[in-house]
Symmetry: C2
């Protein structure tokens, strides 16, 4: 009997007509540890975005355009029908479920309350039901590594101060926080529970009267436990969470339905007044404090040195590398200093770079040659913060077209970075600065221009961003305020031809205040040269040319003392006035 | 007994504690005919924005920063207290009324439903009460001029087609439309009932079953009446409107609470299902058809010729003019061809131009001299459409600073005009293109960058615009679609020093469609040179310089055959390659 057949049997026993399975943990994490990859286990499809729906006589998998080819391959030997999201005539998961009628089963711990409530608004009957644990028995174990406290030298603010600020924002409510970046940020705690996302599985429930911290006590160092108790935290078993919050009665609770599990919602909604509101912690952690920014600048020097060493070596020895080994070479250099990569390095050569989230396979990796460009998007987690950088690299031969397109992406990157703007502006207003030069060529990039970056947390962090369209799931119109970090990563992706992306990180600063208001600007904190062979300076305005030259001058100054002689010489040439 | 005392007596008789008086007609018109200037009549304050609140023992007038000085002067001999909107510590009208408690009286015909509903949400008791007619007896009469039909050569679309499109958009509802630009647009009728706003007072109530047109029959030409009857319209007396809509029962009604009077709302809300929705007519009229655009281009040639004749003469003879007489000279030239001015010409010299809506007085007008700049914002109504243009003009002496600031505003204007963008974009996304160069100097202009323009209707027209902030009253995030006309009018205003604004009108075009979507761009339809003496070409990029030169070349080509010899020679020099 296949696993899907086993699920069907249990569905019948439970009076359920459909069952929904995701790769999702209990915290809505962007990256999911293997323990939670139920959908991958049952369907065989391993892409990062996929929803598996089992019905009594059939089975469907929804995924997006990035994964059509991979899904076709991985589902080839199964009866699972591929539902291509966005393709004409393909029903969305929600519409399909609504049309199919009947009772829908799902694991309420792995689905957020907002999603399940939207199902209910479509008159779909939902049953909270865990059918996975009985099948997915041989699942990968949780990580057992100890958690650690982030010293004030790194966090820049004590746990006490953060919790006080949090409570002061909603002094008369209980705040329930499940998303791991917020909990770990507030607690100044990190761990290794999820690859690329250095957090400890934990929940936080606080009010002015109590502080419940749900976590696996075994992973907390002894002295940290002592501190937490002294600071008034009750350390409660992680697995008691649902049962404990179910005991809350007649309170006002602030929680973010998009980041709270349906199960939690169920446990509290009948007996309390709920306010659906993004946690104030999201804004707190988005606005980096002075110490964090100081640290980030240092992290970016370390990271820039790794990038320069990598590019220097690769430009010299490209003939010995392919996309895959080039990526591994960079990872090795970076991991000399970084705790971990902040995501899997993307290294795409020539037409492979046109796939924005390309992941080179060892077996099929494209060998590097003297022509074409290699797009490398990568980053690291450091105690000093998290980095995210993209460079597009040429080798010995560069075409006129490549220079034109590269220079256009460079203009886009520079235009956003040089913006000066009144407080009150959001990324929705600024996006066009980067996109305009690329749109002038009749080309678009199908992504936002930038995202927030966590501090030793998720490399993608809200609530702000640089995008021109508002989606319901994001808050692109969050105003940009001092201390926010945001990426600046316009690109050009031409199918079957090439991909170019140039990504720097920016910090929002208040520049001055006058009768018009507070003027803000950006400061670039990524230190790595652009590829001068790919710049056609005739396409730059005088101001843009100066901006590149000033940037390169700063990069050289920041990095020169951390390189060996040959690397330094090379960097000096790369950073010479254009 | 003063008028205010008389009002107080009536307030007491009617059990009302406060009474609100505006200069407002029954259609929420931006420009109001003198008949409706009740607030001006009673308070003596004549600015375009003012709310007069009479209480049983006091009297208050709210106005904004544009009118503080004028209001102080005009209220000097009264007991009316000036409430300066936006000044710290000054309660807003709404908050003041709420704090004051008691019953508020107002003329429900002159207040929109959304506003009154917002009062009610603040628990303010409202009484619909007309206390003005008994006092304001000697009021200016309505205009008696006949209305006229806009020929299909001008409108580009028959009334029948427009009404059918309107009904098809909400086939199962009754649509009630009170705002005059929509009614007159749909009916292809124009008149002279309001200065600067060439419309006939009228209402439209239509469904697939009937078409009621409320208007003064005496003003409709005989043959037009015949046509309307043949097309299935019932022409009903204007003054029967409220009583007739009160007869509607058990229907679904679509109406825009922001553009419908409170009285109308009251007449229908109990017995029908109301949908608060902007009229589809707003989008219909915002998207000009091919014929309208063709006509507009012709109107702008006529208007550009007037502007060039004016600038030529003024540059030669400035010593004989002041701000006021310069404006009148332009009006005279324009009115040789235009039906009417589309608004009162703004002509401000030197520091007076820093006031965005400056209105020069004959007595106190500043004499023109060889230095300094004159800002002239003006426009005309033609059968071929409505124009709105601003130029800032130098005379014999130009300072380095003036050139720098003028060139910055020019860059702002050019940057927006040259945008190419994907369909789906709104003015909220594009505003920064114009504002960025000015923000780079640490200067802001406290206005939007652009507004829609009606076709022989209001010179300010929604629903789209170019602004970076959303206000609740406007729909700045209306997507830009083909055929929309929008102004491009960035500026720099330095108090006590100078004012610069450069305003062209743009038409939104679809340029091409490819795999990324539909790319749109703008075409400039205003034809009048920028002031070359004020352009510092070193501050322009190569692309911007080419854009100016191309524009000037086009302007010369469009206008040259309509000027006399001396004017043409001058224009040729003005438009020569920079």
């Amino acid at each position: 009997m296949t696993n899907i057949d086993k699920i069907r049997l249990m569905m019948k026993d439970n009076g359920v007509d459909m069952y929904l399975i995701l790769d999702a943990d209990y915290h809505k994490s962007e990256y999911v540890s293997d323990y939670f990859k139920a959908r991958s286990f049952i369907s065989g499809f391993t892409g990062s975005n996929g929803s598996l729906l089992v019905t009594l006589d059939s089975c469907y998998l929804w995924t997006d355009g990035r994964y059509f080819i991979q899904a076709e391959q991985e589902l080839a030997n199964s009866d699972i029908k591929l539902m291509r999201i966005g393709v004409k005539g393909v029903l969305s998961l929600l519409d399909f479920i609504a049309a199919n009628k009947g009772v829908l089963g799902l694991d309420g711990r792995c689905m957020d309350a907002a999603f399940v409530n939207s199902l209910k608004r479509k008159k779909i009957e939902v049953k909270d039901l865990n059918l996975i644990d009985e099948i997915f028995t041989d699942r990968p174990s949780h990580c057992n590594e100890m958690a650690f406290e982030l010293d004030i030298h790194f966090s820049g603010e004590s746990r006490e101060s953060k919790i006080e600020r949090l409570i002061a924002n909603s002094p008369n409510s209980i705040q329930i926080i499940e998303h791991l970046d917020a909990v770990n940020y507030l607690m100044n705690i990190r761990a290794h529970d999820i690859n690329h996302f250095p957090v400890l599985f934990s929940y936080l429930v606080v009010s002015k009267d109590f502080r419940w911290y749900f976590a696996d006590e075994k992973k907390l160092p002894h002295d940290l436990k002592g501190k937490l108790l002294a600071e008034g935290f009750e350390i409660r078993p992680y697995e008691n969470y649902y049962q404990d919050i179910a005991s809350i009665r007649d309170q006002t609770i602030v929680m973010d339905f998009n980041k709270i599990s349906f199960k939690s919602y169920q446990e509290v909604y009948l007996h309390n007044v709920l306010f659906n509101k993004a946690s104030y912690a999201d804004m707190m952690k988005a606005c980096k404090n002075e110490q964090e920014i100081k640290n980030l600048r240092a992290a970016h020097i370390v990271d820039g040195v790794a990038m320069v060493k990598f590019i220097y070596k690769l430009k010299k020895e490209y003939a010995n590398y392919d996309e895959y080994t080039a990526g591994r070479m960079l990872d090795e250099i970076r991991l000399e200093s970084a705790l971990e990569l902040s995501f899997n390095t993307i290294a795409g050569y020539k037409e492979n770079a046109a796939m924005m989230h390309y992941s080179a396979k060892k077996e099929s990796a494209k060998k590097l040659d003297k022509d074409g460009m290699l797009l490398v998007d990568s980053g690291g987690h450091y105690l000093l913060g998290t980095t995210d950088i993209t460079r597009t690299i040429s080798f010995d031969k560069v075409s006129k077209r490549e220079r034109k397109l590269y220079t256009t992406v460079l203009k886009a990157n520079l235009n956003l970075a040089s913006a000066k703007f009144l407080k009150g502006i959001s990324g929705v207003n600024l996006d066009i600065l980067a996109r305009n030069p690329i749109w002038q060529l009749g080309i678009d990039y199908r992504s936002g221009t930038g995202h927030g970056v966590g501090y030793l947390l998720s490399v993608h962090e809200g609530p702000h961003g640089i995008r021109y369209q508002k989606s319901n799931l994001r808050n692109e119109d969050t105003k940009l305020v001092e201390g926010m970090v945001v990426t600046d990563e316009p690109g050009i992706y031409l199918e079957n031809e090439l991909g170019i992306r140039l990504e720097n990180e920016l910090v929002v600063y208040k520049e001055f205040e006058n009768e018009y208001g507070e003027f803000m600007n950006f400061d670039v904190i990524t230190y790595c040269p652009f590829d001068r062979a790919l710049i056609n300076k005739k396409l730059l305005t005088k101001a843009e040319l100066k901006q590149v030259n000033d940037y390169h001058k700063m990069v050289y100054k920041k990095l020169k003392n951390h390189l060996d002689e040959d690397e330094r010489k090379w960097l000096k040439q790369e950073c010479a006035k254009l």
